[in-house]
């Protein structure tokens, strides 16, 4: 019922031509990238790949505690039992549960001054993951969907967006909203292998290809001189991606990673998911989301964070190092975000409840000025006292970091809808 006309930036059009030239000019290439080998029609444009921007969305589902991570309040009633440690950024201390990230703080930018107001899971997750308040008649696309659409290399045989989650809490499928379902992410839900990419039982690859050839030729013939024939073109393009995705089963196969890499990331689900994320990003998937659950600590906040934060600390540190070593960190934006933070008040179950008035998020990589700590909360972490930022500001910052103008808009019916909300402002201080 809704439609949109997309604004293709000039450089995308250029990429498309470059790529099509490569593909249909007969250059069938074999691309090998750090253990990921994709035979066949992969764009020979390695330049393009190198300058390609990517994003990794780490979603701490349920709401991670800023007190036990980025914005500790030692010695205060709200502070909890943990001590703080110094970081690579002089004068900035974080919770002692994050020693590895503390040492890498010059690569990270932290925003400690989010005030996003909504503290109910569903609505807050919608707000933070889209950058927009909920509207009854307009469903906004998730940030990852927009990034995938904007960062995608046209004609790539890889998925534009892969979304993985570790637990049921993270099981929110990224909404395509008013954008077409064409931009739906590939979901890794039951396993780390995508569904329906294996050859059906009893079919040879030749038979599989043979029937697709027939399907495609019948379809193209049918579409000739039809009103709406361009819809068939899009339909055929979807089928044309099937073979590429089936060939990418290796891409999703962690068994192909050396044991050392698996050990380095740690044999936890989050560790393995981040390893897979790195593998995907490196191969050219522009957008990956990893959701990590269990942060909703209404009970025993400190016990749960004592388990969760060190895992997060270690895995993210390894990931940053790994991306850096492979020359990918400068082109990959890493986003660490939740739906909200946790209350300053420690409740009678030694838990912290939902809190959206003053909390934190973090970024690294592409477009980010490492070593910046933006905004401040008061001494108990109850209120933002400096640099207040909204969900829209976070979205605008993300777009700006990867070089997308947050004021660009999609046309939805009669309404031009900007990528980030009209009043959103990128947090310039943390941008490179």
């Amino acid at each position: 019922m809704r439609r949109h006309s997309t604004c293709q930036p000039a450089e995308h059009a250029l990429h498309r031509r470059t790529f099509l030239g490569g593909l249909f000019g007969g250059a069938a290439a074999t691309l090998t990238l750090g253990g990921v080998s994709l035979a066949g029609e992969v764009p020979a444009a390695s330049d393009l790949r190198r300058q390609q921007k990517r994003a990794l969305f780490i979603w701490l589902a349920g709401g991670a505690s800023q007190f036990e991570m980025w914005d500790p309040k030692p010695g205060r009633e709200t502070g909890g039992p943990f001590r703080t440690i110094p970081t690579a950024v002089s004068g900035y201390r974080v919770c002692e549960l994050m020693p590895h990230l503390a040492a890498r703080m010059n690569q990270l930018a932290v925003v400690r001054s989010l005030n996003t107001q909504i503290s109910e899971h569903g609505q807050a997750a919608d707000l933070m993951s889209t950058g927009w308040p909920k509207e009854p008649a307009l469903e906004h696309p998730e940030l990852g969907v927009v990034l995938a659409k904007e960062l995608a290399l046209e004609g790539s045989l890889l998925p534009d967006y892969v979304s993985l989650f570790a637990t049921t809490e993270g099981r929110r499928r990224p909404a395509t909203g008013f954008l077409s379902r064409r931009h739906s992410p590939l979901l890794l839900e039951e396993s780390l292998q995508p569904r329906n990419i294996d050859l059906p039982a009893g079919l040879t690859p030749e038979q599989h290809a043979g029937r697709e050839e027939l399907r495609a030729s019948l379809s193209s013939r049918f579409a000739e001189q039809r009103a709406g024939g361009e819809l068939v073109q899009g339909y055929n393009e979807a089928y044309a991606r099937v073979r590429g995705l089936m060939r990418s089963d290796e891409l999703f196969d962690l068994a192909r990673e050396p044991a050392a890499a698996k050990d380095r990331y740690g044999r936890t689900p989050f560790g393995q998911h981040c390893l897979l994320a790195r593998r995907l990003l490196e191969a050219g998937v522009p957008m990956v989301k990893v959701a990590r659950g269990f942060w909703d600590s209404h009970h025993d906040n400190f016990e749960s964070h004592r388990e969760l934060v060190p895992d997060f600390d270690r895995v993210l540190s390894v990931l940053l190092d790994d991306l850096h070593e492979r020359g990918l960190l400068d082109s990959t934006l890493v986003i660490v975000l939740s739906e909200f933070g946790r209350t300053p008040k420690i409740n009678e179950d030694v838990g912290r409840d939902h809190y959206a008035d003053a909390w934190s998020c973090a970024f690294a990589g592409c477009g980010i000025r490492g070593g910046t700590v933006y905004g401040q909360t008061d001494e108990d972490g109850v209120k933002v006292v400096e640099g207040e930022a909204t969900a829209g500001d976070v979205a605008a910052t993300i777009f700006r970091a990867v070089g997308i103008d947050p004021a660009r808009h999609y046309q939805v019916g009669p309404r031009p809808v900007p990528l980030a909300k009209e009043d959103a402002k990128p947090i310039k201080a943390i941008l490179a």
Partner: protein
């Protein structure tokens, strides 16, 4: 309210006529003031032709008989015709116009139309909340009883929800009762074709018609609605207040979209007379009539042509007129004479415009879709595609009732029970596929659907070789040419063309040569797969 009684009676009379076995549409029993579908169709065509002439457009040629029949079956029953059905249609020597009229009457009076259209209306009304079997069945019964659209609208918004049959009608409100915003926005979008949600925070920035007063006026009809599932109610006090321009706090008037303000009795009196704001909304919407009728006509037009006369269908306002001047306004006026959905449907599909070709052979450039000068391809909805897959693959045959069954139906005056049971069985088989298939709305195709159809084992099994399926029957056919002809007939609902038989025959031979040992079953399965995933099957055309 007098209006209510009137509408109640028209609905009841229609139902009674139905059960007496009178033809349910275009009959002499219709009130004389109401134009028959054929004359409505003729007037629609006259207006379109005048529009085309004014635009310098020569429309596409009429579609061929087989295409028309497939199109009609898909749009009215949600599935392709069986081979038996389309062959009988092509063999029928009745003059073309009369034959079409008869077929249309048979489909509209048959059991499948209300079954399918109950689900269609569910999606129109419920949007993302669609899919409740009880609510769908309520809509199905309403269509079967030929309940009028104004009566349905009334039952959705104010009930009564007293009997088991009428209770599900409360669902529209129930799923939205906790969210005044959504209740306001969805009601105005669905029933009045207007999206006022932008006017929540400020007067609508793009549409002059919509002010904050409209949004909050509409919200006022719902702000006293209480409860949720099973216990909807309404209070007799409470107003909507909002921050107007300049930050002044305002109390919303009880105001309909047309600007008409409803006078309210003072609180004490309101309590005594059980003054219901929702009842007032129903009354004013029916009295003003334009928005309610235009919205449904436009949405039905979209259903049959892939696009509303006003597009998008929830953007009816003065700055976004109908693309064929006057047509929507006039047709909505005709519809409001009796709010009979079947008569409206019959009128739209009886037009020549609905029967135009999707092929554009003319040398001139294709006119924009808003002129409806050719039938534009439309992605089938998941429901249409899944049901049609079952018919094409031979999983369901919609065979006529056996003699004894037919006799039992006649004895009980329950014609069509057999067919309804077949339809429900097919619907159950189709259910697991629905979520995997791309919705028709934006016409875009996802790679997820392509992967699912290409590789999912349940899909391969569905198209597989079990006895009775198309693949199994083809495999028993000796001659490659015959296999090709038979497959095209069953899947595409038309006689095969010589060159395509040639192509398919060559493909079959090629497959046979290249697979060792040749597995004929396997090859036939692949042929069926290619035909049902090809565009001619996946699209309405």
């Amino acid at each position: 309210m007098a209006g209510g009684i009137h509408y109640f009676w028209t609905g009841t009379i229609a139902a009674a006529l139905w059960w007496c076995g009178s033809p349910s549409w275009a009959s002499a029993d219709d009130p004389p003031a109401v134009a028959r579908p054929e004359s409505l169709a003729a007037e629609i065509d006259r207006r379109l032709e005048a529009h085309w002439q004014a635009q310098g457009i020569a429309p596409a040629a009429p579609a061929d008989d087989a295409t028309i029949y497939r199109r009609l079956m898909l749009d009215l029953t949600g599935r392709i015709p069986t081979r038996v059905e389309w062959e009988a249609w092509l063999a029928d020597k009745t003059p073309a116009d009369e034959r079409y009229r008869q077929a249309l009457r048979q489909i509209l009076d048959g059991p499948e139309f209300p079954l399918y259209w109950g689900a269609v209306l569910d999606e129109i009304v419920q949007g993302t909340a669609a899919g409740s079997p009880d609510f769908i069945d309520y809509l199905r019964r309403s269509l079967r009883e030929r309940k009028r659209w104004d009566a349905v609208f009334r039952e959705l918004l104010i009930g009564p929800w007293k009997t088991d049959e009428s209770k599900p009608a409360a669902r529209f409100l129930e799923v939205r009762a906790k969210d005044l915003d959504r209740l306001t926005t969805d009601t105005t979008r669905v029933f009045f074709g207007v999206d006022v949600s932008c006017a929540r925070c400020h007067d609508h920035p793009l549409v002059d018609d919509w002010k904050q007063d409209h949004y909050y006026g509409m919200a006022s009809f719902f702000n006293r609605t209480t409860g949720g599932k099973g216990n909807l109610g309404e209070k007799f006090e409470g107003d909507v207040t909002f921050k107007g321009a300049g930050g002044t706090q305002k109390t919303a008037a009880l105001m309909f979209l047309t600007g008409r303000v409803i006078d309210e009795p003072p609180p004490e009196e309101a309590k005594q007379s059980k003054f219901s704001r929702r009842e007032q909304l129903v009354a004013v919407a029916l009295a003003e009539q334009t928005l309610l009728s235009r919205s449904l006509v436009n949405r039905l037009w979209q259903q049959f042509f892939g696009r509303g006369l006003v597009h998008p269908v929830d953007q009816m306002h003065s700055g976004n007129p109908s693309s064929v001047p006057g047509l929507l306004e006039w047709l909505a006026g005709e519809f409001a004479a009796d709010y009979d959905v079947q008569r409206l449907v019959a009128a739209i599909v009886s037009t020549k415009a609905y029967r135009l070709n999707s092929r554009w052979d003319s040398g001139s450039p294709l006119p924009d879709e808003r002129h409806f000068a050719a039938m534009r391809l439309r992605l089938l909805s998941p429901r249409q595609y899944a049901l049609s897959l079952l018919v094409a693959s031979g999983r369901t045959d919609f065979a006529a009732a056996e003699a004894r069954q037919a006799r039992a139906e006649r004895l009980l005056g329950a014609k069509g029970v057999h067919r309804a049971a077949q339809y429900l069985a097919a619907e159950e088989l189709a259910a697991p596929l629905l979520a995997q298939l791309d919705p028709a709305q934006d016409g875009q195709s996802s790679v997820a659907e392509a992967l699912y159809l290409s590789n999912n084992s349940a899909v391969q099994a569905l198209l597989g070789r079990e006895p009775g399926t198309l693949a199994a029957r083809l495999a028993e056919t000796a001659d490659a040419r015959q296999i090709a002809e038979s497959a095209i007939g069953q899947v595409y609902c038309r006689p095969p063309a010589a060159d395509e038989v040639e192509r398919l025959t060559n493909w079959l031979k090629q497959q046979e040569q290249s697979s060792q040992p040749a597995d004929k079953h396997r090859i036939c399965e692949q042929l069926v797969w290619a035909l049902v995933t090809a565009a001619e099957f996946r699209f309405q055309h």
